[in-house]
């Protein structure tokens, strides 16, 4: 398929507004009579609330009200489950415990809200919050993923007799049988730690109940405005048409903003209705570290069985996933780990035993990558270790095991995060992998460059890791596209935008279909008043699911345009072309009509409309894939480490990405750059340090280290293209891809750089301090 607009490096149409500070964020919303909220949050991670005294807070001038759980009465209820519990598998344990709006009885993680202050300014609200007196009875905290399952452990949820949140086994083939045939069986234990999503913009809400209009408007920095609208209406006893949720520009989502309902989202609209006043709250960075969801903490015991040639005969793993104090997001994240622990390899025998535990830590929901980085880390580390033990080239071992191109669609015979069978739709892995080796000069590096650097006393290593990403899952998204009498196009979809360039990419899809300029398309995202149905922006699904809905709607409008134009121009549809906002008769440029004129004719003010027709040049369409589109990629780096200071320098970073058809390569590259920076954070910088009381020790950006421009290498991106067979555009998601393989690449490159030390890295992130400890241990042992 040759496209005119799709696939072009079109500059983002949203940028001028964003870069000149003209774009609307929740923080910019300011309404007459607006009040401000501040929260009294628990410092304790686990404690009984004995008493709450708000009397002094109420005395402070400018305070309008202070609310606790008691004030909510019957309106107090936990948040809804966000995904359905696992259905089909036998012997599944799943204990659902969901977050609450305001603490009743017992605090289960630090940062939970005990009281809300509403005041005339945020300053006053914070002054008053300091005057609230709460008597706590501190309880020992549940922190350790393994100890919490021992008999007699303190319990997070007293109404459960265990800290077990879920248990599930997935099995494919016969691992034990395969193990017997193996020439090599390796087993290792991996520790993967927690990180924050750390979006530049924290969460924020403005809730405005209009009593006369009986209407609630909520501006919310969320990834999922439509489910928030539906949920708010249900909780507050309203009809959906009485609630409008707007997710304007959002400064980064990365997963946590798909989580709903956050306590603040439940409480502030409720108070706005009580007071009949708009209320604003912008999360500050400290709140974000305690109250916004996090991810990645898992312990894995993994076994891999191989033949002496390096064929993977089977993989077995038992792992524990920490879901924090509640599990509103079900099993999505650890299921992703399960489905990515075989990477892009043809693994016939797989046994995966998953245990999910409650702890007194912040809630876990997907963060960019969502369980996938852990799966890729495990399988890639195991392959590196196996190659070393078998004395094989690690790259050759990978090549040997790739799912071959003729094996697609490839059925993994286990379930994925959507509880559907895990099927990889398409792929062509080896050429992309070879390309990565070539870009990084793998052979020359190993043969010539590295020995030369070694001789100079430099420790420089190479790491190359392939990975898969399941993307574009259902259930569905929709879009509406219409031609205005001006000839310009208006369009809307339900997904929200947090930097994904929807306004440009979707406009390109429409421009392609309708023969207009990208700048002629005005795309609205994330406003429930503009589009009624949908789920949200997550799981690398925007370009696949919403993108194909936009394409379908625009395609339908195109048919309507052609039909009407054919009648008016008295020319068969096949002889018409759409270009420059006109419909022209091919080869007769003077015979034409503009889209605007057609739009007017399609919506006459007088006269009879033919029965069975609809007014206007407009269409609403939905797209719901049976299963996702699986993307592939390879990342590589050349890394220098100073073995005295443990400081690193990434000398070169390359990626090959196969996300099928690209709507806009600039956008794809931007996603990869951002993802890689997050991955570098996960590999080396970013770790949430919880102590034995489940207290977070680094709840500020001074101590939670996010890589910035000074830490980022130059990234070279190459695009491969295996179009997705099951959607018309052929797109696969790429939003999370960049973050997924980085810790595995980093570990491989670091081991390679320090190869004199014979180091095995089985954890992430790996700080310089930790690297020092590992090297010390090596020295002590030898």
């Amino acid at each position: 398929m040759t496209y005119k607009v799709i696939g072009k490096r079109v500059k983002r149409v949203e940028d001028p507004r964003l870069l000149t500070g003209q774009a609307l964020f929740v923080g910019d919303v300011s309404l007459p009579g607006m009040l401000y909220a501040a929260f009294f949050r628990s410092d304790y991670a686990h404690a009984k609330v004995i008493s709450i005294d708000i009397s002094q807070a109420l005395e402070i001038p400018g305070v309008v009200g202070v609310y606790t759980a008691e004030d909510m009465g019957d309106d107090w209820e936990p948040g809804p489950p966000l995904v359905s519990p696992p259905p089909t598998l036998e012997n599944v344990v799943f204990n659902s415990r969901r977050q609450v709006p305001l603490v009743k009885g017992k605090v289960k993680h630090a940062g939970e809200i005990i009281a809300v202050v509403i005041a005339e300014s945020r300053y006053i609200a914070e002054d008053a919050a300091e005057e609230i007196l709460v008597e706590f009875e501190p309880l020992p905290a549940v922190v350790d993923l393994e100890k919490c399952l021992e008999p007699g452990s303190v319990l997070v949820h007293d109404d459960l007799d265990t800290n077990l949140a879920a248990h599930l086994i997935q099995n494919k083939g016969d691992y034990e049988g395969a193990r017997k045939e193996a020439d090599l069986v390796i087993s290792r234990r991996f520790h993967l730690d927690r990180g924050a999503a750390a979006a530049l913009e924290n969460r924020g809400i403005v809730a405005d109940w209009d009593e006369k209009n009986q209407h609630l408007t909520v501006w919310d920095a969320t990834q999922s405005p439509i489910p928030i609208r539906n949920g708010l209406a249900a909780r507050l006893g309203l009809r959906t048409h009485q609630v409008r949720v707007v997710a304007p520009f959002v400064g980064g989502g990365f997963g946590p903003k798909i989580m709903m309902f956050y306590a603040e989202e439940m409480v502030l609209p409720w108070i706005s209705m009580k007071l009949g006043k708009p209320i604003k709250w912008i999360e500050d960075r400290r709140e974000n570290f305690y109250a916004t969801t996090q991810e990645r903490e898992q312990i894995h015991d993994v076994e891999m069985a191989l033949s002496k040639e390096g064929h993977i005969l089977g993989i077995k793993q038992k792992f524990i996933h920490d879901t924090g104090a509640f599990n509103p997001y079900g099993l999505t994240t650890p299921l992703n780990t399960q489905s990515h622990s075989m990477g892009g390899y043809d693994v016939q025998n797989y046994y995966s035993d998953l245990t999910v535990v409650f702890t007194n830590k912040t809630i876990v929901t997907p963060v960019r990558g969502a369980g996938r980085p852990q799966g890729i880390y495990i399988v890639e580390r195991m392959l590196d270790i196996a190659a070393r033990e078998l004395e094989l080239d690690p790259m050759e071992v990978r090549r040997l095991n790739f799912i071959p191109p003729d094996a697609f669609p490839y059925d993994h015979e286990i379930i994925d995060q959507a509880f559907a069978t895990l099927i990889f739709d398409s792929g062509n892995y080896e050429p992309a992998f070879d390309k990565a080796l070539e870009m990084l000069g793998y052979e020359d590096f190993i043969k010539n460059e590295q020995p030369r650097l070694r001789a100079e006393g430099k420790y420089v290593g190479i790491g190359i890791v392939p990975f898969v990403e399941t993307t574009g899952v259902g259930p569905y998204e929709g879009a509406r596209v219409s031609v205005e009498p001006s000839g310009k196009i208006s369009a809307a979809t339900g997904v929200g935008t947090q930097g994904q360039s929807h306004m440009t990419a979707f406009a390109q899809v429409i421009a392609e279909q309708l023969g207009v300029e990208v700048s002629d398309v005005s795309m609205v995202t994330g406003d429930t008043a503009e589009f009624h149905w949908g789920t949200g922006t997550f799981a690398s699904r925007g370009a696949v699911v919403a993108g194909n809905a936009v394409n379908a709607a625009a395609g339908d409008v195109r048919l309507k345009v052609l039909k009407l134009a054919s009648k008016i121009l008295e020319t068969p549809e096949e002889e018409l072309v759409l270009e420059d906002g006109m419909v022209r008769v091919a080869d007769k440029p003077d015979q034409s009509i503009s889209l605007g004129e057609l739009a007017l004719l399609a919506n006459p003010l007088r006269g009879a409309v033919e029965p069975g027709t609809e007014p206007g040049l407009e269409s609403t369409k939905y797209f719901g894939p049976a299963f996702g589109a699986t993307a592939f990629g390879v990342h590589g780096m050349i890394l220098e480490v100073d073995p005295e200071t443990m400081m690193i320098n990434i000398r070169k970073y390359i990626t090959v990405e196969d996300c099928g058809t690209m709507i806009n390569p600039l956008v794809v590259e931007g996603q990869i750059h951002g993802g890689v920076s997050m991955g570098i954070g996960n590999a080396y910088y970013e770790k949430l340090h919880y102590d034995e009381n489940a207290q977070l020790l680094n709840a500020s950006l001074a101590d939670y280290l996010i890589p910035g421009s000074t830490e980022m290498p130059h990234i070279e991106v190459h695009h491969a293209n295996t179009p997705a067979p099951n959607n018309e555009l052929g797109t696969k998601g790429v939003g999370e891809a960049g973050a997924i393989p980085v810790p595995a690449v980093f570990a491989q490159a670091l081991e390679n750089a320090l190869h004199d030390y014979d180091l095995e890295i089985l954890e992430t992130p790996l700080s310089p301090n930790r690297l020092y400890e590992l090297l010390q241990k090596k020295e002590d042992n030898s």
């Binding site: 500050d284 680094n698 101590d703 700080s767 400890e773």
Partner: protein, 292 residues
Amino acid sequence: MKPAPFEYYAPTSVSEVLELLNEHGYDAKILAGGQSLIPMMNFRLVQPAVLVDINKIPNLSYIKTHENGIRLGAMVRHTQAERDSLIKERVPLLHETMPQIATIQIRNRGTIGGSLAHADASAELVAVTTALEARFKIQNLEGERWVPASEFFVGLLMTSLEPEDMLVEIEIPDLPARSGWSLKEVARRPHDFALIGVAAVLTLDKKDRCQSAKLVYLSAGDGPLVAEEAAVLLQGQKISEDLIIAAAEKAATEEIDPGNDIHATADFRRHLANVLTRRALAEAYQRAKGGK
């Protein structure tokens, strides 16, 4: 993360500042660049009742020569010092130090006086002014006094400044001929406070022996940590690789007193101090020999 209520004054002369400090005592805080004070106020770790903003006072950001050294007004911004040609020529150690402090945005606002008055043991300027034997001019309503760096920094975030005192000027003497210097530090990201760092100053005599040595560590104790015994090892000796190794070992294992935190254990910090001291002494020695 909003500060507690406070009264705000923006005087335009040093004497007005001194009046205000005298009147409000412990309740008042001077606001210079705000890069340390404002975050602490927003976290409500400090809640001064009165803020005395000294940004409107003219003539506090000069850099000038004075006898055998230079003098800086307390309000010289980090960026100004970083780009100043006089500093580059006369106090190259300070010139090389500046870019290692925080980010450019923070350096654009942060002041030399603020950094020194704040006396964070991780601050480069605290170690470097100690290594260079700087002197600080302090004023209050009663008059002025000069305090050497060695007496100015008295403990964890503590100086000899009293609540009614203002730091107004910093004097840095020239180094003797045949001196070399180096600042080495390890930070997770270039702009972070260093896990550990060392400022080294060496002066050689005519026979190439070490006439004097100064090793001052940052993030290695409650204040700038001077490794005196390591300096004694070097004094009067011909600098050799073995001597450097011995001095580094002495300072790192016996003299410094680094803490444990989430970024590094004391053990790792000592290891780094050892490595950095070797590198710093080697560089300082090279520079001293080269006469630079």
